[in-house]
Symmetry: C2
């Protein structure tokens, strides 16, 4: 008899709850609209109802291992409070962990959505079989998750894994985070759209301009479509995105020497348009990449640095959330600790 | 009765062997010139003789825990072979671990010199009491060492911790590693000298030029001396060094969210001249730094990101090497592994 866990992926538009067994088989998935439910109370009620129904239904299938929940935004891991979430307005400072645990009467593992996405890819996707992994998630902005020797790396306060705000061009365009020239300004949906608007404004992207004037919506997908059709301006946008990613990944390889870097999120669908420029930059900028004998892209070999796209799509977070209660406690996460000795306090 | 270990710091000019007890007290230190000894065989013989004498001498003092050796250059951690070492010509592909263990008849822990330096600062210096630490070592180039939850982070092949070759300016000056605009081009002795030469050549550093024409040697120390005397050109050089370090550290804070970053190595002696610009850049470029409520420099507080200078000077590597055999095996190091599953091989 197999063991199973429940994973929850709480997003700005939908709430998904899944039953996953310990071999990674998705037994059932429930999808609810968070938009319709409005407000944290109703969403958490609906989430807990769904969890309860599924737990009862699968109880006879095997040992129930627990519940993992992925939440977008900044979580205070010590208290389980959702500090800020651009995708969940109205959830500011909401004690999400406490509210869920109170309703269910059991312990729940709360985790940032980029981290559960990374854990999903690490378990069943592109990172499968590797010891450690760094995932870049190209969404509206750029998130990330780092898995070191099987466990999510949280850092001191749970804010680790933000490659979107590493500096690529010190004098580059301003970013909402306060910095200039962040990776997020070049890759991720907002970065692609910023560059597309700049190209239209400077008169360099006639075809893109015509498409928009013809009624098409300016999206990374439209830019990608024109790029694959050979449009020079749109190709240059994805070239820049790939180069910026390559600069960031090259630095991370030199610092962390990890075996695999995975690019996920919606914009990663344009992999063909930007990935050659990642490899160009990494070869030029990372002597550790070159010293670890990079294989041809997509080939897997030991002692090589792999750079590839995610495999699980939108389900990575659901699998990753379900994985958390399956891990031994010491592997669940490198816990945030701020241990400081007494000498200078 | 206390326990003790022997630490060895093998450098390009000197070989130092020390007896350190488990509370971090240096009981005895022997210094030999590696220049005079010439060649790996003689150096390893002298090293092992010194280790043997010290081990016998302190045997009655307590339990002997083992031997740690710090070596400059790239070590193949799987085999213990010193691949390349700019500071130890003639040691190319020398099986240093095997040769030492053969002579001593016991297990020895071999480690890169930047990593043992980081371990020393983590144990007894600036990193004392913190859970994790990132050390930048400003020597001729820039090395580094990362300690995560008590253990050195090696990465897949032992090449982790090379912040000197992270990209600061994508179109910046070429670096010997093949990249352009590496941190090493702006901070570290070579970076400071490169900028000093550029300033002299462009006519911007009249005072520095006069000093050299008057017979002084162009060193980072001379540039620092003139900077502290108020010379604008020399101050600008250390400003640039600090800014480049700040850009790199800001990115590392956003990715790793570590509680402390330590700047060591010879050039760190110019801390007063460059450190204000590190803090300027980090405040501008790292929202994680700002979110973790940075304390005033030099103050220690929990849940803050600390950036400070090293405390142990040249002895950090000696203490760090001696520390290695004291650690429980699982803490000794995050071992280099290249575990890859069978699905795609």
């Amino acid at each position: 008899m197999s063991e199973f866990a429940i994973g929850v992926d709480l997003g700005g538009t939908s709430l998904r709850v899944a039953v996953v067994d310990d071999r990674g088989t998705l037994l059932e998935k429930v999808t609810l609209s968070t938009k319709v439910l409005r407000g944290p109370e109703r969403v958490v009620n609906a989430m807990c109802d769904a969890i309860g129904v599924l737990q009862t239904k699968y109880n006879s299938n095997g040992k129930f291992l627990g519940i993992g929940v992925g939440v977008p935004g900044i979580i205070d891991l010590g208290t389980g409070v959702l500090r800020e979430s651009p995708n969940l307005p109205g959830w500011h400072d909401y004690p999400v962990l406490q509210e869920i645990e109170h309703r269910l009467g059991t312990r729940v593992i709360l985790e940032n959505d980029a981290n559960v996405g990374a854990m999903g890819e690490y378990w069943l996707g592109a990172g499968r079989g590797f010891d450690s992994m760094f995932m870049y998630t190209l969404g509206t902005g750029i998130g990330g998750g780092i898995v070191l020797e099987g466990a999510i790396w949280h850092g001191m306060t749970g804010m680790a894994g933000e490659p979107g705000h590493t500096t690529i061009e010190p004098d580059g365009p301003p970013c909402a985070c306060g910095n200039r020239g962040c990776l997020e300004q070049f890759a991720g949906a907002n970065g692609v759209l910023r560059m597309a608007k700049d190209a239209i404004a400077s008169g360099d992207a006639a075809k893109l301009k015509r498409a928009i004037e013809g009624g098409e919506e300016l999206t990374p997908k439209l830019v990608y479509k024109l790029a694959t059709e050979g449009d020079k301006a749109c190709r240059a946008i994805y070239q820049k995105a790939g180069e910026a990613l390559g600069i960031s990944i090259a630095s991370m390889i030199n610092v962390l020497n990890l075996p695999i870097f995975v690019i996920g999120g919606g914009v990663a669908g344009a992999w063909e348009a930007f990935s050659p420029f990642i490899f160009d930059q990494v070869r030029k900028r990372s002597f550790v990449y070159n010293a670890t004998a990079p294989p041809a892209p997509e080939r897997i070999a030991p002692r090589c640095t792999h750079i590839t796209h995610a495999l699980l799509g939108a389900d990575s977070g659901l699998y990753g959330a379900a994985r958390l209660p399956m891990l031994p406690e010491e592997q669940e996460a490198h816990s945030p600790k701020a241990r400081v000795n007494s000498r200078a306090l």
